[in-house]
């Protein structure tokens, strides 16, 4: 059978990315131009600046993606692009560019859901992984526990009611003076801390066993810091980081294990930026092993926002016959499984 090549473009937040993916599973190139240095000056992503930088870099990134894959635009079978969820101005750059590229090259266009991309990152380098399986998506903007029923078919089991897990990491990191981005910094500092030093709450959402809530945890950390300050007690940042992180990891793993017990699957996957957190990976590894469940996680480079995952998701959409027309718009709050 002839190989199917997807050129994928991603610009939903602060990474401008392009990739070429073969048959949904093999990455021929994965180019990511990060803007993190600029946004660090502002303590978080500034949407207008992100949009401007995407516009400046998109041609270079796509050219490099094709070059590293050793193919030309004429060799690709379709162009896949993230159209939501994300920052609307940032998404619009990738979407408009991809549409122009598709229009002028005559190639089919496939709009891809960013979170589906994160989930499909697990297909890369894992040829044996096939649906159905439950998957936990954790990132700066998302916390979803989903059951992947089939390619392109998702059942949402639970989601966060307030902050995303990654958002809580960023806010706590800022509060203890670690700065932005919070996830990797807390992950690192935690190595030197005692995860049982402080007991932070593990929130349960009353009417749903699978939903998450992280704003209470974040407030508990802030209250703790405040009371230490009032009492003149010196805060051990590493202990706070490790204890906070453990609370997040406990909730995420508990919910996922409940879903696995319920569904009876022998396979589980995680995805998203927070999925590269070493403590989270280790906790899942341990719990899955104890239950005889095969645990999948993407390589760290595929956990962060990237276009290879969009190419993987785009491939399965393309093979299912999904085509977007030239009126494709950016949808900042696109829901999973919605088209």
């Amino acid at each position: 059978m002839k190989d199917t090549l997807i050129l994928a473009i991603e610009s939903s937040c602060d990474e401008t990315a392009a990739a070429v993916v073969k048959n949904g599973r093999t990455v021929l190139s994965n180019v990511i131009s990060s803007q993190i240095d600029i946004h660090t000056l502002y303590g978080g992503v500034v949407p207008e600046i992100a949009s401007r930088k995407h516009t400046e870099r998109v041609n270079q990134v796509v050219t490099e993606g094709l070059k590293q894959a050793g193919v030309g635009l004429e060799d690709v079978d379709a162009i896949a692009v993230t159209y939501g969820p994300g920052l609307v101005g940032a998404l619009l750059v990738g979407v408009s560019f991809a549409k122009g590229l598709a229009f002028a090259s005559g190639k089919p266009l496939v709009g891809v859901h960013h979170i589906e991309g994160h989930i499909c990152a697990n297909f890369i380098d894992h040829p044996e992984l096939e649906p159905p399986f439950p998957c936990l998506v954790v990132s700066g903007g998302h916390t979803h526990l989903v059951r992947v029923q089939d390619y392109g078919k998702y059942e949402i089991l639970g989601r966060t009611r307030d902050d995303a897990a990654g958002e809580a990491f960023d806010k706590v990191a800022r509060a203890i003076g670690l700065g932005y981005p919070g996830g990797p910094k807390i992950d690192k500092v935690s190595d030197e801390g005692d995860p049982d030093a402080i007991v932070f709450p593990r929130a349960k959402v009353g009417d749903s066993v699978y939903d998450f809530s992280f704003s209470g945890l974040k407030s508990a950390v802030l209250n703790y810091l405040n009371s230490c300050k009032m009492q003149g007690i010196e805060v051990n940042r590493a202990d706070v980081a490790a204890s906070f992180q453990k609370a997040v990891v406990d909730v995420l793993t508990d919910h996922a294990m409940t879903a696995l017990d319920e569904g009876g699957e022998k396979v589980f996957a995680i995805a998203g930026g927070v999925a590269s957190n070493r403590h989270l990976r280790a906790a899942f590894e341990e719990k899955c092993n104890a239950r005889g469940i095969k645990f999948y996680r993407p390589a760290p480079i595929l956990c962060t926002d990237n276009a290879a995952m969009i190419g993987a998701a785009g491939y399965y959409e393309f093979m299912r016959g999904v085509r977007s027309d030239y009126s494709l718009n950016a949808v900042p709050n696109l829901k999973l499984g919605e088209r």
Partner: protein
């Protein structure tokens, strides 16, 4: 020479194809600001109706700013995608220059204004010389509407002529303009008629061809819109840095 032209800088979305100095198709919509959904379908329609072979396009002219930040980027990113696929250059055409060019040949001073909010307009002041070439009297800037009206009146008075005001900025500050001009009895002024009051990709194409001849085309990669204003976050940060100094 064949040029594809795009303007999505304001409320109007406009596309045109210009073949060997003839505008074969132009399509403009001033309705809702949904350029992301309409701009490319419009261009596709013009392409099909004029049976234009994209492979014959030599360049793509884009209204490069100022304008709505999002609108600018939709036009810019679309053009960058098309230019990359066709391996052709982009001709950045200043939005206000193209708007002024609608009055090519007039003796009056031309003052296009785009509503830039915060009681400001994006505006430039123009005139045409005896060869009908566009002359920039005042560079594009974000400026208080009243200040720009005074500036335009000053140029008109010196040149012994009147003014044409156009654009959605002129619409937004029509009463202000009338009030200010009432005191300037020696300078006549008109507001552009509706068919010349909005952005028009035909003008972008024609002016684009002139700029192309002047070597002003750039690669798809090198092209970036001219916003005239930094982002809000940068403004605040710069102010803070200035305070510290």
């Amino acid at each position: 020479m064949n040029i594809i032209a795009i303007d999505s800088t304001g409320m109007t979305a406009s596309v045109a194809i210009c073949c060997d100095g003839r505008i074969t198709g132009v399509y403009s919509i001033t309705h809702k600001k949904t350029h992301s959904e309409t701009l490319l379908p419009m261009l596709d329609e013009v392409k099909r109706m004029t049976e234009f072979d994209l492979g014959l396009a030599d360049a793509i002219a884009v209204a490069a700013g100022p304008g709505s930040f999002t609108g600018l980027r939709i036009g810019a990113a679309t053009a960058k995608g098309i230019a990359q696929a066709l391996d052709i250059p982009i001709i950045p055409v200043p939005t206000l220059d193209a708007m002024a060019y609608q009055f090519c040949g007039t003796d009056r001073v031309v003052c296009p204004m785009m509503d830039a909010r915060h009681s400001q307009v994006y505006s430039g002041i123009y005139a045409f010389d005896e060869t009908a070439a566009l002359e920039v009297l005042s560079e594009n800037r974000a400026v208080d509407a009243a200040e720009q009206v005074e500036a335009a009146a000053g140029f008109a008075k010196n040149r012994g002529t009147g003014i044409v005001f156009l654009g959605d900025g002129a619409d937004a500050y029509k009463d202000l303009i009338k009030d200010l001009m009432k005191e300037k009895t020696d300078v006549s002024y008109i507001f552009a008629p509706a068919h010349r009051n909005t952005q028009d990709a035909g003008c972008v194409a024609v002016l684009g061809e002139i700029l192309f001849g002047q070597g002003k085309a750039v690669t798809a990669d090198a092209f970036a819109p001219e916003y005239l204003r930094p982002s809000q976050a940068e403004r605040v940060r710069n102010e803070k840095c200035d305070e510290k100094k």
